[in-house]
Amino acid sequence: MFDAYSERVHRYCAHRVGPVAAEDLVAEVFLVAHRHRDRIAGPGEPLAWLYGIATNLLRRHRRDEVRAYRALARVGVDPFGGATGVVDSHDSRSAERVDATRTGRRLAGALAALPRRQRDVLLLFAIAELSYAEIAVALDIPIGSVRSALSRARASVRAAIDLPSDPDASTDDGSTP
């Protein structure tokens, strides 16, 4: 199981708390999974379950995560390493780079301001690339709650980075992204 899923779980954790803490978290996720291996629900892939464990463990790092987003929003430097890194290095596209960095900073500010549940849902959707149903399994919440939390979180983020509200939002059926 470690070989099959650790990379993906690490990527999700690294996006949230940086690669160093993420490696420890990955170990914890799989140790917890091993202890509770009898709880793997059904014959399907246990990925959603692993992400759920990771998200629970990430709660212990919530303050660090939020603090890092705030720092990134404030000064454009990520405490987990490097600058916002949205666009590549100093080249002729400096105007684009500045704009992208500003977007990254606004985005970080928006992520810091999100309620925990909304941030969990949004990052499971965006980084872990889980479907609504998988997020519901991971967080042990109804799929309707996933849908509404994601909708609210994305509305906040889109407003922060100057993207228009999506007119198709009302037709959202909660299907797999």
């Binding site: 070989d3 690490h10 160093v20 420890d24 490097g82 890194g85 992520l111 959707f125 983020v157 999506d166």
Partner: protein, 297 residues
């Protein structure tokens, strides 16, 4: 929302963390924690390139940095302020055998009274973001009690079934180990290996973890002779070159294992060459932890 530009921006924000990670440390922790003796895919296959050479580049770099008096020594971000290391009265740099002898002069293990627990305080700094974690252990079997009841029970079952071990020692067991370095060496080398076998580097790296776990959770009940023996065994493992290095201007030293292609792992030595912490990584991305163990009622 069919327009996914916001999702794309979120993915891009920390896209630099998307590259495949080695996860050597996590894998070893999982293997050790689950008691697995094999994995579906040989860890050695993926570890081999990373562990092809265990080098002491960190030694050279750190000594050079200290010699230059720069502010970029890897520990410095965590050493200032509340993360200060205990001062050392010992010479700034010494050969390994000096450290082994020095460890013999450390404090004797505290006497455990009935009902007491070991309190392990771990001050962590992940790339400058700090937090403190506190754990409580029962001295008999080093049972971690500040965790899920189910896991506490699992530890007790293991301890009752297998008896004392380096993972679940008792004060008496630790005292006995000090006089049996051969057995200690065998135990430290008993890494969970895939069927294809372990490399020396994998075993040594596993031992590094075992020693650091013991120091973090049981130093207060560890006799100085055992601290010294652990250093002796650790520094004598095949396939590993361990070097001392000075990491700050008050003379703290580390024992380091630098794994090629992976992060640098260092044990931080305090007074009497006691292991008081660990440092992984360096530069702007590092994880520093400093440990203190005490007995509490």
């Amino acid at each position: 929302m069919n327009d996914l530009r916001d999702i794309d921006e979120i993915r891009a924000l920390r896209a630099r963390f998307d590259q495949p990670a080695n996860l050597t440390r996590a894998r070893a922790r999982v293997l050790a924690g689950t008691g697995e003796r094999s994995a579906r895919r040989s860890p050695v296959r993926s570890w081999a390139p990373a562990l092809a050479g265990v080098v002491v580049v960190g030694l050279v770099v750190a000594v050079a940095l200290v010699a230059r008096g720069t502010d970029t020594a890897p520990l410095r971000p965590g050493v200032t302020g509340t993360q200060s290391l205990p001062a050392s009265a010992e010479p700034s740099v010494g050969p390994v055998d000096v450290l082994i002898r020095l460890a013999l002069t450390g404090p004797a293990p505290a006497e455990v009274r009935a009902g007491q627990h070991i309190r392990s305080e771990v001050r962590l700094s992940d790339s400058g973001i700090r937090r403190t974690e506190t754990q409580l252990y029962e001295p008999e079997g080093l049972i971690l009690t500040t965790t899920a009841a189910e896991y506490v029970q699992q530890q007790r079952t293991t301890f009752a079934k297998d008896g004392p071990s380096l993972r679940h020692p008792t004060p008496g067991y630790l005292a006995g180990l000090a006089g049996d370095p051969g057995r200690l060496r065998t135990m430290l080398l008993d890494a969970p290996c895939p069927p294809s076998g372990c490399t020396d580097e994998v075993r040594a790296w596993f031992a590094w973890n075992l020693v650091s776990d013991l120091a973090r959770s049981a130093d207060v009940i560890t006799p100085p002779a055992l601290r010294s023996a652990l250093l002796r065994v650790l520094t004598g493992l095949p396939g590993v070159t361990l070097g001392t290095e000075t990491i700050d201007d008050v003379g703290h030293r580390t024992l380091s294992i630098t794994v090629k292609g992976d992060q640098t792992h260092r044990l931080i030595l305090g007074e009497h060459a006691r292991i008081v912490g660990a440092l992984t990584g360096g530069g702007s991305t590092y994880s520093l932890s400093l440990w203190t163990t005490t007995l509490v009622d």
